[in-house]
């Protein structure tokens, strides 16, 4: 009843290709933006910022990166966290060694270095495909982490291998409060998500999907496989690199290479699978899911403990997380392989007909 498109016909191609073609969607997005930029900073607690919103946004960015590589271009990667690490440590070194380096430029620099490393480890994709490529990305994950730990120059010869991120100062203003950090991350992630969406629905996105679906046919219509695949690795790693830099500077503060281990790579892969491969919205939905689930679980455990005297050990919670994630992956792959994003689309379809059943 509310979600009808009646009367909204497009009179130009521009209107047809818009990201939010339906007026109700545009209103919804405006409301979301309003909430995100104005309402939340006024109402949220510091814990909400630092414990939930900021990691949610940063990991969404990493998930977008992985989605570009695996969801759109079809190159399976298990090394996402390693590229985040490159971005983090490269940004750190830019800030450390280049005098008067603007921090945003350092983030971009970190992302660029990550992109270059991504291209290097993406070269095998020209010969290898499928799970062979996945194992090759594992090589990236293990080697990069070893390199960042062993090569002292990277961590400025810190004896513990831990680095402390410099404070974030842009144009004289220090981003120290949780709300300020949140707004910074929100802006960066928002802009980069928009850029990703534009790429995805443009020629480069179509080339990636063509390579994913049938690379021989893609070649025949003139798409250069090497360009397309390496570009996917580069752009994806850039996004992961910036996400890693944000992870270090805004979320963790002090960071060591171990923070970007295989476990994190898997978490981001789960976000992409559960959220919906090959969609930008899915990256956000998946990240929200994976970020909120541990919180929900510990809340449930605490509730069971205090109200029903059902005692579950703290250590069991992380194992429960494992089981729930694993189970949900399988569940989604069986029921809706295209993840939450497709479920959302289906919900919108139903909403169009509401209150009628069909």
């Amino acid at each position: 009843m509310f979600y009808r498109e009646a009367g909204q016909f497009k009179t130009s191609y521009q209107a047809d290709v818009a990201i939010f073609p339906i007026r109700q969607d545009r209103i919804a997005i405006a409301l979301i933006a309003l909430t995100a930029f104005v309402v939340i900073p006024l109402l949220a607690t510091p814990y909400l910022f630092t414990g939930i919103l900021i990691p949610f946004l940063i990991l969404s960015l990493a998930a977008i990166g992985l989605n570009i590589l695996t969801g759109y271009a079809g190159q399976l990667s298990l090394g996402t966290a390693a590229f985040m690490a490159v971005g983090a440590f490269a940004s750190y070194n830019f800030m450390l060694r280049v005098p008067e380096m603007p921090i945003l430029l350092a983030f971009i620099g970190g992302g660029t270095i990550a992109a270059l490393v991504g291209i290097l480890f993406g070269l095998p994709s020209l010969r290898i495909r499928g799970f062979y490529l996945a194992v090759a990305t594992l090589a990236a994950q293990f080697f990069i982490l070893w390199f960042l730990t062993k090569v002292g120059w990277v961590t400025n010869y810190s004896s513990s291998g831990v680095i402390t991120a410099q404070p974030i100062v842009i144009l004289g203003y220090t981003f120290a409060t949780p709300a300020a950090k949140y707004l910074l991350v929100l802006s960066i992630v928002g802009l980069m998500a928009l850029a990703a969406k534009n790429m995805a629905r443009g020629n480069v996105g179509r080339s990636w999907m063509a390579v994913r679906d049938m690379d021989v046919a893609a070649e025949v219509i003139g798409i250069r496989l090497m360009h397309a695949k390496l570009l996917a690795f580069a752009v994806s790693s850039f996004y992961c690199g910036v996400a890693g830099a944000l992870f270090a500077y805004v979320y963790l503060g002090t960071v060591e290479p171990e923070a970007f281990n295989l476990d994190l790579s898997f978490r981001i892969l789960f976000m992409v699978i559960i959220g919906g491969m090959g969609t930008i919205l899915g990256s956000f939905l998946g990240s929200a899911f994976v970020t909120l689930l541990p919180v929900l679980l510990s809340m449930t455990v605490r509730y069971l403990d205090s109200n029903l005297n059902l005692h579950i050990a703290e250590s069991a919670i992380s194992n429960l997380e494992f089981m729930v994630f694993g189970g949900l992956i399988i569940f989604f792959l069986i029921v809706e392989p295209h993840g939450l994003a497709r479920l959302w689309q289906i919900a919108k379809e139903k909403l169009r007909l509401w209150p009628f059943p069909h």
Binding site: L76, P124, R127, I128, G130, F131, Y132, A134, V135, A136, L138, A139, F142, F143, W146, T149, K150, V216, A217, F266, L269, I273, S315, A316, N319, L320, E321, F322, M323, V324, F325, G326, G327, L328, I329, I330, L333, I334, P337
Partner: protein, 297 residues
């Protein structure tokens, strides 16, 4: 020179242990076309169940078949809940399902039995065999040798099974094309239950040996990840390939650590097998024993 051989033999024997894990992969892949990322988790689960039962007071002679039974039940569960609904989905979907399975099994194992590190005593000592040391001056572990023997027996049995029996042929058909196999009346569900059950048994053997060597702990799952380079070298469908691949990975890993490690600060073992596999893939994308994939358009 003697030191070199010692390291080499140690590496080869450790490689055999990797092969044991890889065998489980190969079995499942050969028989159902599924790349079972969860094999490592199964090894961990088997080992943990065994020591868990022992801790509960069960005698070893009973705990062993009991664990085997548990692995079979696990296999049946996996077939029913994961594989059956995903019949004929693309390989990548099944692969991701096994990633989910990995996490599920790891969580289940630790919730059931706790996360403490435990030792596993198989009655075999990790000591040098006396007469070998006397004769050649090298230290070759008794334990490693027995493990190699076990692996050799398993490999022979499996190779015979696949190539000589009717069920083996049916398994190969299933691996090729699920729907076609169903169409000719091959009982898919039963076959998968059998295959995953056998893979579970292999996981148990691997789990016992690895657990005895390194202790039963979460890090065991990373050992299983090392089986992936083994598979790349040996090909995903070849049983002898799993052995040869394991030998190469085991030997090269140890040699690299000992001879190259000191120049770069050590810790090479963590990534060397993967990079080796990667370089190998660039030259020969289908592995040593794998079949060349020809695509027709």
């Amino acid at each position: 020179m003697q030191f070199f051989f010692e390291v080499l033999i140690g590496g080869l024997l450790s490689g055999v242990m990797y092969s044991l894990v890889a065998l489980g992969f190969v079995l499942i892949y050969k028989a159902s076309g599924v790349f079972n990322f969860a094999q490592g988790a199964m090894v961990f689960f088997a080992a943990l169940t065994y020591v868990g039962l022992l801790e509960q007071g069960m005698p070893a002679l009973l705990a062993l078949p009991a664990t085997l039974a548990v692995m079979v039940v696990l296999a049946l569960g996996i077939e029913r809940v994961v594989l059956r609904p995903l019949v004929n989905q693309p390989q990548i979907t099944l692969f991701m399902a096994t990633i989910g399975l990995t996490f599920f099994i790891e969580g289940l194992a630790q919730i059931t039995w706790g996360a403490n590190v435990r030792g596993l005593d198989l009655g075999l000592q990790d000591e040098p065999i006396q007469w070998v040391t006397d004769a050649t001056g090298m230290a070759v572990s008794k334990f490693d040798l027995v493990a190699a023997g076990v692996a050799a027996i398993l490999v022979t049995l499996l190779a015979l099974f696949f190539n000589r029996t009717r069920i083996g042929r049916a398994l190969r058909a299933v691996a090729d094309d699920h729907q076609a196999a169903l169409a000719v009346g091959i009982p898919l569900q039963q076959i998968w239950a059998i295959v995953w059950g056998v893979a579970g048994a292999i996981a148990l053997v691997a789990g016992l040996l690895w657990g005895a060597r390194n202790g039963v702990q979460y890090a065991l799952t990373f050992v299983a990840l090392k089986a992936l380079p083994v598979l790349i070298l040996g090909g995903f469908e070849s049983i002898p390939g799993a052995i040869v691949g394991g030998l190469i990975i085991g030997a090269s890993e140890k040699l690299a650590e000992v001879y190259l490690g000191p120049f770069v600060g050590g810790g090479i073992e963590g990534w060397f097998p993967y990079v080796l596999a990667l370089l190998f893939l660039l030259i020969r994308p289908e592995g040593l024993f794998g079949e060349k994939i020809i695509r027709r358009i």
